[in-house]
Symmetry: C2
Subunit: 421 residues, 2 copies
C-alpha cells in the first residue's frame, strides 16, 4: 500500500509476469536450494490472484498482518520470556525477527548460511520448497515487558493492565503470560511450526520459549464455500464478528490511537489469548436442546434460536409457549453480545493436544484469541459477564491466559517495536 522502491516482495508478486529468472537473481539465493525456490515461485505465479496456499500476505504495512487479514487454517502461538537484561539486545532481537519474519512470509529460507557444511544452517529447512501459504507473524509484548528491566515502565499502556480473575478460571502457569507473544498463522501447519522454531533459535541468549500452542480450524481447501468454521462443540464460531473490511469499525473496535494515551501504540492493538479447555465428554452427553440453549443458536444452521439463517438478527424479546425467552438470558451469544455496544474481533483456533492423562480425557478446546482497542473496556467487561453467568461455563474451563500489546505495523526498512524503543 505504501509507495516504495521495487522489492523482493514486488518481484515475488510479479513472478507470473517477469519469470522465475528475475526472481532468483534478486533473491540472492542460488545453488542447491534453487530447485526448492523454483517450485515456490512456480506455484505463486500459477496462483496469483487466487485465494490459495500460494498466496502471500505482506509482512509490512500500516498494521501488522494476522489481525484484520483473513484467518488462515493453522496457528502456532508462542509466548517468550526475555533472558537478557539489555534493552539494546531486545531491540536487536526485534530487528532480527523482523527481517526473518518478512522472509518467511515470502516463503523464503532465512539467513545466508544454508549451504555451508561447516556451519549450522541458518534455516532449519523443513519449510523449504513450500509456498508462502499466507503466513502471517504478529508480535506483541506483555505487561511484564514493562517491569524494571528495560526502563520502559513509563511507556506501559493503560489497557495492558493485568486481567482480573474471572469466574471459571483455573489458570495454569504453563499456558499463561509471557514477556512477548508471537502469533503465527499459515495455511500449512508445518510452515507455522517452522516459523516459531526459527524465531526461537534467533532468540538464543536473549529470550526463551515460555509456552506454545498449535491450533487449527477446518482447512479452506476442504470448504471452498468459506463458511463460518465450527468449533469443537460443533457450533459455528465467529458469526457475529465485526466487519474487518470496514475501516471505521476497525478503528473503533481494534486499532489503538495515540489519543488513547500511548503514542507508540498508534495503529497497534491489544491481543487477549485464553486457552479454553472443553469438557468434551460432558458436552457430548448433553442433549441437542441443551447445547442450543447454551449457545443461543441452532447447531445446524448457526441461526439464533427462533431464526432460520445464520446471519438473522437475534430476537431477544421472543418468548416461547411457556413465556420464557426463546434465547435464554444466560445463553453465551446473548451475554457476549450484551446491548451490542461492546465488540471485539475474535480470531480463535481449535486445539487438540493429545490426552490429559490425569483425567483420562482429551485435552481439546479453543485457543481463544481476540483483538481489541482497549481490553479493559471491551474484553474484560464482556468476560466478566460471561464468567459469572454463561451457560457455557458448565462445559468449559479457562486454563491459560495472556495479554499482549501488539505493535503497529512496520514499513520496509523499519522493524517491529521501533515506535516503542
Amino acid at each position: 500500500m505504501l509507495k516504495k522502491p521495487i522489492s523482493r516482495r514486488d518481484l515475488l508478486r510479479m513472478a507470473g509476469v517477469g519469470g522465475a529468472g528475475l526472481l532468483f537473481g534478486a533473491s540472492g539465493m542460488g545453488g542447491v536450494w534453487a530447485a526448492a525456490e523454483k517450485s515456490v515461485s512456480a506455484s505463486v505465479a500459477k496462483e496469483t490472484g487466487k485465494s490459495s496456499n500460494g498466496e502471500f500476505v505482506d509482512f509490512y504495512g500500516k498494521h501488522q498482518a494476522g489481525i484484520t487479514t483473513p484467518a488462515q487454517d493453522f496457528l502456532v502461538f508462542a509466548a517468550f520470556d526475555l533472558t537478557t537484561e539489555s534493552l539494546a539486545d531486545v531491540k536487536k532481537l526485534f530487528q532480527t525477527w523482523t527481517k526473518a519474519s518478512a522472509a518467511m512470509a515470502e516463503g523464503h529460507m532465512i539467513g545466508e548460511a544454508n549451504d555451508n557444511v561447516n556451519m549450522p544452517p541458518s534455516d532449519t529447512g523443513e519449510a523449504a520448497g513450500l509456498t508462502p501459504s499466507r503466513t502471517t507473524i504478529t508480535f506483541g509484548v506483555g505487561a511484564s515487558f514493562f517491569d524494571s528491566r528495560y526502563g520502559l515502565a513509563a511507556k506501559k499502556p493503560a489497557p495492558l493492565a493485568d486481567l482480573p480473575p474471572f469466574g471459571g478460571d483455573e489458570l495454569r502457569e504453563e499456558w499463561s503470560g509471557g514477556d512477548i507473544g508471537v502469533q503465527v498463522n499459515a495455511n500449512d501447519l508445518q510452515i507455522a511450526f517452522h516459523a516459531i522454531r526459527n524465531l526461537a533459535r534467533l532468540a538464543r541468549g536473549k529470550a526463551v520459549l515460555r509456552w506454545t500452542q498449535e491450533g487449527f480450524q477446518r482447512t479452506g481447501g476442504a470448504d471452498p464455500s468459506g463458511a463460518t468454521p465450527r468449533n469443537l462443540m460443533g457450533f459455528k464460531d465467529g458469526t457475529n464478528n465485526p466487519d474487518t473490511s470496514d475501516d471505521s469499525v476497525m478503528n473503533k473496535v481494534v486499532w489503538a490511537s495515540a489519543s488513547d494515551g500511548a503514542g507508540w501504540m498508534e495503529g497497534g492493538t491489544y491481543m487477549v489469548v485464553r486457552r479454553i479447555r472443553i469438557r468434551v465428554e460432558v458436552w457430548d452427553r448433553s442433549t441437542l436442546g441443551d447445547q442450543e440453549a447454551t449457545f443461543g443458536r441452532h447447531r445446524a444452521s448457526g441461526a439464533p434460536l427462533g431464526g432460520s439463517q445464520e446471519h438473522d438478527a437475534p430476537d431477544f424479546d421472543k418468548l416461547d409457549e411457556k413465556g420464557k425467552p426463546v434465547i435464554p438470558v444466560n445463553a453465551h451469544m446473548r451475554l457476549a453480545r450484551g446491548d451490542g455496544s461492546i465488540q471485539i474481533l475474535r480470531r480463535s483456533y481449535s486445539y487438540s493436544s493429545g490426552m490429559d492423562h490425569k483425567m483420562g480425557q482429551l485435552d481439546a478446546g479453543l485457543l481463544f484469541i481476540c483483538f481489541n482497542r482497549d481490553t479493559s473496556k471491551q474484553f474484560t467487561p464482556m468476560q466478566k459477564k460471561l464468567g459469572q453467568n454463561d451457560l457455557l461455563n458448565e462445559y468449559i474451563v479457562h486454563v491459560g491466559s495472556a495479554q499482549f500489546a501488539c505493535f503497529p505495523g512496520v514499513r520496509e526498512g523499519g522493524y517491529i517495536g521501533e515506535t516503542l524503543f
Copy 2:
C-alpha cells in the same frame, strides 16, 4: 474394486452426473443438515477425479485404506484399551465402528439423532459441511488384545510378539501400547480429530482412550509438486519407500498371508508406531556437514551423499580424499537400508505438541509409523541395528512404542475384525 450392488458411495461418486437430488434421497438425511450435505456433494462433484480435498477414499476393499493409499496431510492416532470383558461387546464395537467409519470416510455425519433436541446428537458436528478430504480410518489390535480376556490367545499371530528393547529407547507408558490402535488420516485436521472423538464416544462402556497423537506433514495443497515431504530435521523423509503401486512388492513387504500362520490376517498387515522426539535444540546447533553425515544425504536435494538427485542410487563404496566412505558407515540411510533385502513401508507424520516444561524445550518430532508383513523379520532387525549404531541417535529419543495387527479390509455389509471373531 469388488463388484457389488449400487451403494451410497457409488451415488456419491456419481453425484457429478446424477445430481445432488438423487444423493440426498439416498443418504437418508434431510432437514436442517441438508445445506451442509449439499456443500459436500457439490465439492465432490466439482472435484471428481482430481487429487483434492474433495476426494473420497473407499473405506471398504480387499485391504484397509490408510496403508498403501497415498498419505494425507494430517494424522490423529489413538490407542484404546478395552474395558469390557465380553467378546460379544468387542464384536459389537467393531461393527459400530465399521458403520461409522464408512460414513465418515464419505463425509457424512454419523447416526440418526442429529436433529432431535431431546437427545445428545449422534455426531458431534464439527465436521459438518466439510468435504471427505480423503479420510481413512485404519484399525488394528495389540498384543494385549490376545490375553486371557476374550479367549483369543490361540489366534495371536506370531509377528505380534512384543518388540524387544532397542538402544535409545526411553519409552513412556503414556505414549505406548494399547489393546486397539486406530490411525485416522485426512487432508483436514479438524476432520481427523472429529473421527477419533466420535469413535471414542461410540466406544463408551466398552473401551477408553489410552493415548492419542496429532501429526502433520506439509499440506498437499501447498506443494502441488507432490515432492517428498521434509521432516522437522529439514530432510526429505520417505525417499526410499517401496512402490505401493506394485502389488508383488506390497505382497512381499506389507500384506500378511494366511501362509504366514494366522489365517484371519490374510490381506492384513502389522503396524509399528514409535513416538520419536527430536532434540530440536541440539540438532539445530550442529553443522550442515554433521547433519548430512547423520542422514547420509544432502539436505537440499535429498540426494545420497556423493550424488546430485534425490533418487540417485547411493554409492556405498565411494571414498573421500581421506579414504573414508562418503556415506558414513553409521549414517541413518545406510544402516536402514542394510543390504537392501529388508524393506518396510513408512507412513510417518511430524508432530509438535507444545513444550516439555521440564526441559524447557519444544516437544516435537516424528510419529514414526510403518507397515510390514512380519515385524520380527523387518522392523525389529532394522531398528536393532539403528538403535545400536545410528548417528541419528544423538539427536532423537524414542519415547513411545506400540504395535498392532491391522485387520484385512472389509467388504460392504461386513465389519472390521470379522475374520478374527
